[in-house]
C-alpha cells in the first residue's frame, strides 16, 4: 500500500468519503455554467427551499459555517473553497488517496424544480472544472434535482459514463420517504449508469426534523440525522426498492453507523410478522441491507469503553464501512484519532481505504 512520510511518521493511506467543497464565489465559479435567465432569477428571487424559513438553516450551527475554525483558507474565502489549502491542510498530510466530494447547499431540495435542475447541472460542471480535473485523488458526486425524478434521470444519463463522478448524491430529508415509487426512476437510472446512490444527512423535506415535531436545539437536529436515516432506510426496505433493483448500491453518509444493528433486528422481526402486508419483500431486511447498503463512518460514535464499538462493527460487518472525515466541518473525524481501538491490519485497511476502493470500482 502506498504510504507517505510526514516527518518521522508513516501515515496510513485513507479514503475520505465525505468532503465538502464550496464555490469561492458563485458568480465567478458557477455562473459560467448557469444561463442568464437563472442568474437573474437567483439574484431577484433567491433560492426557495422546501422549508418554512426564507433563508438560512433551521438551526444555528455549532461553529460559523458549520466549519472547523482552522479551516479558513489563508488566501481568503470560505472553508472548503480553496483546493490548494484543502491539499495542504488535509489531503496531503492525511494521505488521502481517494476523496469523494459532496457539495451541499447546491441546488438540491429546492422548490423551483427547473432552477434545481439547472443549478445541479452547473455544480456538476463546476466540480470537474475546479476540483477533479485539477486533483486526481478527488471524485465528484453527480448532483440531481431529486424531487423531479424525470429531470434527475436526464442528468444521470447525461453524465453517467463520465469517470469524474463516483456516485449520485441526494439529501436525507426528502419530501416523501425515499423508498416511495416517485423516486424509483432515479434508482433505475443509477443501476443503468452503474453508480451508487449516496444519501447525505440534512435536506429540506418540509417535515419537522423529528417525527415528534420541531426540536428546540441544534444538538437535537445533529443527533436526529440518525433517526432520519433509519426512516429512509426503513422506507427503502419495506417499499421493496432493494428487491426491485438488486444491483443498486446505497451509501448512507454522515449519519454515523452504530444505530444500524438495532434497526435491522427490529425490521427483521416486523418483516417476519407482517409478511402479508409487504409480500414484495421476500428476503429478511438484514440480508438486503448487508448486501446493498454501505455507511460512511463519520460522525463516529464514542462509547465508553471504546471497545464496545468493536462489537457494533462486527455486527454490521467491517466490509460495510467507509471512512470519512466530513472536512471541513466542525464535527470532523481526525483519521489518526477517530478509531482509538486496536484492530487487525486487514480490518484497518478495509475500514480506512479498501472498502471504498472496492465499492467505487477503483481498485
Amino acid at each position: 500500500m502506498d504510504r507517505v512520510t510526514t516527518g518521522q511518521k508513516i501515515k496510513l493511506a485513507i479514503a475520505d468519503c465525505d468532503i465538502h467543497p464550496t464555490p469561492k464565489s458563485v458568480p465567478v465559479e458557477i455562473y459560467p455554467y448557469l444561463s442568464k435567465r437563472w442568474q437573474d432569477y437567483m439574484e431577484t428571487y433567491g433560492i426557495i427551499y422546501r422549508q418554512g424559513f426564507p433563508t438560512g438553516p433551521a438551526f444555528p450551527k455549532g461553529q460559523p459555517n458549520a466549519a472547523r475554525r482552522d479551516s479558513y483558507p489563508p488566501a481568503g474565502g470560505k472553508p472548503g473553497s480553496d483546493l490548494s489549502f484543502m491539499q495542504s491542510q488535509h489531503l496531503d498530510p492525511n494521505n488521502v488517496q481517494l476523496g469523494i466530494l459532496n457539495p451541499l447547499s447546491c441546488g438540491q431540495g429546492v422548490q423551483n424544480l427547473d432552477f434545481s435542475a439547472a443549478y445541479c447541472n452547473a455544480v456538476n460542471h463546476w466540480q470537474i472544472a475546479e476540483w477533479t480535473s485539477k486533483e486526481p485523488r478527488l471524485k465528484a458526486s453527480l448532483m440531481i434535482p431529486y424531487e423531479d425524478p424525470l429531470a434527475s434521470v436526464k442528468e444521470i444519463d447525461l453524465w453517467g459514463g463520465d469517470h469524474n463522478f463516483a456516485q449520485i448524491l441526494l439529501l436525507s430529508r426528502t419530501a416523501e420517504p425515499l423508498g416511495q415509487r416517485k423516486y424509483w426512476p432515479i434508482f433505475e437510472a443509477a443501476c443503468r449508469a452503474n453508480l451508487p446512490v449516496a444519501v447525505h444527512a440534512f435536506g429540506y423535506g418540509g417535515a419537522p426534523v423529528t417525527g415528534g415535531g420541531w426540536p428546540s436545539f441544534y444538538i437535537e437536529e445533529m443527533v436526529g440525522h440518525a433517526e432520519n436515516t433509519q426512516s429512509l432506510l426503513t422506507s427503502m426496505v419495506f417499499e421493496g426498492v432493494f428487491e426491485r433493483f438488486p444491483t443498486l448500491k446505497l451509501i448512507l453518509v454522515e449519519a454515523g453507523f452504530a444505530w444500524l444493528p438495532a434497526l435491522t433486528w427490529r425490521l427483521d422481526k416486523l418483516w417476519n410478522r407482517m409478511r402479508k402486508e409487504i409480500p414484495h419483500v421476500t428476503r429478511p431486511p438484514s440480508e438486503l441491507i448487508r448486501q446493498q447498503v454501505w455507511l460512511t463512518t463519520q460522525p463516529m460514535e464514542e462509547p465508553e469503553p471504546r471497545e464496545h464499538l468493536l462489537d457494533t462493527i462486527e455486527w454490521i460487518g467491517w466490509e460495510k464501512l467507509l471512512f470519512a472525515t466530513d472536512y471541513p466541518h466542525w464535527d470532523f473525524d481526525e483519521p489518526s484519532r477517530a478509531l482509538p481501538i486496536r484492530v487487525g491490519k486487514e480490518q484497518k485497511e478495509a475500514f480506512f481505504l479498501q472498502n471504498a476502493l472496492e465499492l467505487y470500482g477503483l481498485k
Partner: protein, 137 residues
C-alpha cells in the same frame, strides 16, 4: 523537568496567547489578567490545535432557560468539536474530573533570575532588567 524561557512578557499581553514549542511539544501560553497559563496545544479529544480556538466565557444555567455568564475570556473552546477548557486548570467543562487538557507550570521570572538559575533560553538573548515567561517541561 527543565525550565524554559519562551517569551518576554511584552509579547503576550492580557487577553492574548502565543504558541511556543518546547522540547518538541506545542504549548499555547495564555495571559489572563497578567497571570500566565500554559496548555498543550492538542485537544485531548482528537488532537486539534487549541490555539486556533475561540476564547469564550462560561455559560451556565442553574435551571432550564436561566442563563448565567461569567469568567469571560478564561475558557478556550476547541476549534473543531467545541469542547471547552478552563485555562486556569486545564479541566474540561463537560467532564472536569475525567477530561483535561495537559497543563504546564508557567511563571514569570526576571532576566537576572533567568541568567543565574540556569533556565534554557536557546532562542532568547536574555536582558537582565526584563521579565520573561518561563515554562516547566
Amino acid at each position: 523537568m527543565a525550565r524554559y524561557v519562551v517569551a518576554s512578557v511584552t509579547e503576550i499581553l492580557p487577553g492574548e496567547r502565543k504558541l511556543v514549542t518546547v522540547r518538541g511539544r506545542p504549548i499555547v501560553i495564555f495571559n489572563l489578567d497578567g497571570e500566565y497559563f500554559g496548555i498543550l496545544d492538542r485537544c485531548p479529544h482528537q488532537g486539534a490545535s487549541l490555539c486556533k480556538g475561540r476564547l469564550v466565557g462560561l455559560v451556565d444555567a442553574p435551571r432550564p432557560g436561566e442563563y448565567s455568564f461569567c469568567r469571560k475570556g478564561e475558557i478556550i473552546r476547541c476549534p473543531w468539536h467545541g469542547w471547552e477548557f478552563d485555562i486556569r486548570t486545564g479541566k474540561s467543562r463537560c467532564e472536569p474530573e475525567s477530561i483535561k487538557a495537559t497543563q504546564y507550570d508557567v511563571g514569570v521570572k526576571r532576566g537576572s533570575e533567568v541568567i543565574d538559575e540556569s533556565y534554557e533560553a536557546e532562542t532568547f538573548d536574555v536582558v537582565i532588567e526584563s521579565d520573561y515567561v518561563v515554562v516547566n517541561v
